[in-house]
Amino acid sequence: MKKSYWFLALGVWFLLGCEGTQDGVIPKTDVRITFRARYDGKPLVRYAKYNYADYWVDFFRFNAYMSRIALLTDGVPVKISDIEWVDFTPDDAPTDTAVDVTLVLRAPEGQYTGIRLGYGVPPDLNAKQPKDFAPGHPLSRENEYWIGWKGYIFNKIEGRVDLNKDGMPDGGLIYHCGSDAVFREYSFDLPIRVEPGAPEILVTFDLQKLFVRNGEWLDLRNPYNHITSNDFNDVVIASKLMDNFKPATSVMQ
């Protein structure tokens, strides 16, 4: 009996040893994806004044969950990450300029035709809580979990509105989007080369484009457009923002 276990173990070892060298197995390599925040094409700087319709806005916080990141080959996804948390305005940043966030993921080498990005936390993960994840996991972050909503805050965009452009803020611009109803996935077509030494993939979010669609701005004079929480009105606003993430995102390599 003991002998047969040895043979079994030897067989498993042999098969495992062969896996990496078989013909047809594609080697994996590092893929660097850098996320960058902008407003109207300009670097995002905390508390800097930006034009918004005919008034000013500023921002002091921007972070987001990005999920189900996959490289595409003619629409067929190769998933390279379940979930990541990108924080453009960390408390320990050296300056007020939003930082670039670079992820280093692993993907099979090759030529791809696009990338898919999930915006927020997909429903299967959104049903979980920070306690379900080990420390350090993106979903273990207690600040990004909304106890009242029993779900994650998909992104935080926080700033202020200066309606009369006198330099004194007139209200907050606080968008905390969440709930399964507003989770979005978007694909972007572009040639992506994955091999050692290949350039990074650059994903840029332009916050201005979150708030304007077909030339129409989200009216921040309306106080109910200043903030999202968890009532029906807020889910409607959050849906608009999450829809706008597609035109607000540009990808290049």
């Binding site: 408390d91 306690k131 009242g148």
Partner: protein, 389 residues
């Protein structure tokens, strides 16, 4: 009065003897030369299992300082031992008392020399989860780094680490405890880094019991909160609009299961015409960003009813004063958090839009909810009390 030579010699010798005796009394006995003097003591580290509520995440523990039973016990002893202070009168626990949820009940803490510090003692409840900086201004990242600072702060324990380490090496008990905690071979290996690691281990077990009214509610006991406390909870978590309650905006800053958030905000305590006008620049003084002047780390609101007075400088004596502050939207400054202005119901027709603040009932309900966060099982936990009593 002529003295003989012998008398002078005798007097001189007596004086010399006296001086030598006096010097001898002043000098500490030398540290014993003791290569490997502790190896006869067994070193059998056992992992310490932190008891935490089921709805809390795993406690973050750095890989280079895993919790062990002996490490936690050593840390507990060091935490409560005045040996750390220059005159052996104060310990960490002097400013972090268990029955006050590890605060000291003072507006600002007072050190061994009777000098008042600038800031109020922060609660250590669930401090293990604070991974975005410690102290009010986030000037250190880890509990291990934090534990090093008060010992040498002239307005806290006002000692030096070489002196503390020397005391620990000479101590009749500590060398054995360090051996059991860290496997050192001899007492000369006792260091400030190991002392800080032990204290950090103890601090990481200061976790909620999960038995507060709020925790029982979260775990499905819907009767744990009465109607007023429930109203307070709805306003706290911005869930009350559907039942006609205003938004108190609390959870945006005091969020997560620790109700801390561990982020930095200007909550409108002081009027400032420019970012340079804050008397205490807080976070901005640490990271050099003007935009962070006047910001402080949000403390946990768990056990908040036990941790008066409030704010980084202890300016508010009661929770009523705190709620009055927020309800009045605080004082203006360039980087005041905008949510402070949005507490209450929006007032239609105002431009810019203004908010009502909170009614006496709303404030009372929120304060009742804050009392429902009190965790008496935690503060009475025998495992975290002073081991010298």
């Amino acid at each position: 009065m002529n003295r003989s030579l012998a008398q002078w010699v005798f007097l001189g010798l007596a004086l010399l003897w006296g001086v030598l005796m006096w010097q001898g009394c002043q000098k500490e006995p030398p540290e014993p030369a003791a290569a490997g003097d502790l190896v006869h003591i067994p070193y059998t580290p056992k992992p310490y299992t932190v008891i935490k509520p089921a709805h809390f995440p795993e406690v973050p523990v750095p890989p280079d300082n895993p919790l062990t039973v002996d490490g936690v016990q050593l840390g507990r002893r060091l935490f409560y031992d005045p040996i750390l202070s220059i005159d052996s009168t104060q310990s960490c626990a002097s400013c972090h008392l268990p029955h006050l949820s590890f605060t000291d009940g003072l507006p600002v803490s007072v050190g061994v020399d009777g000098i008042a510090g600038r800031r109020s003692s922060m609660s250590l409840l669930n401090i293990a989860y604070a991974t975005n900086g410690l102290f009010w201004d986030g000037r250190v990242r880890t509990l291990e780094e934090q534990a090093l600072l008060p010992v040498e702060d002239p307005i806290e324990l006002h000692n030096t680490w070489p002196e503390v380490v020397s005391r620990l090496r000479r101590h009749p008990t500590y060398p054995e405890l360090f051996r059991k905690a860290f496997g050192i071979r001899d007492r000369k290996e006792i260091s400030k880094e190991l002392a800080a690691k032990a204290i950090a281990q103890f601090e990481r077990i200061l976790i909620s019991s999960g038995t507060s009214k709020f925790d029982r509610f979260l775990q499905g006991d819907l009767d744990a909160l009465d109607d007023e406390e429930l109203d307070g909870k709805l306003m706290y978590f911005e869930e009350g609009a559907a039942v006609g309650l205003p938004d108190a905006q609390c959870f945006h800053c005091h969020g997560g299961f620790t109700l801390s958030g561990n982020q930095y905000f200007n909550n409108g305590l002081d009027k400032a015409a420019s970012l340079d006008d804050f008397a205490d620049k807080g976070r901005g003084a640490v990271n050099g960003r003007r935009s962070d002047n006047g910001k402080f780390r949000t403390p946990t609101l768990r056990n908040i009813a036990l941790t008066a007075p409030y704010m980084h400088d202890g300016r508010f004596q009661t929770l009523e004063e705190v709620l009055d502050h927020y309800s009045s939207h605080g004082k203006s400054s360039p980087n005041k958090d905008p949510l402070i202005d949005q507490i209450g119901f929006p007032i239609p027709g105002t431009q810019p839009l203004q908010y009502t603040g909170l009614s006496p009932y709303h404030k009372r309900a929120i304060i009742k909810f804050l009392h429902a966060l009190t965790d008496t099982a935690f503060v009475n936990n025998p495992d975290i009390q002073n081991p010298f009593r």
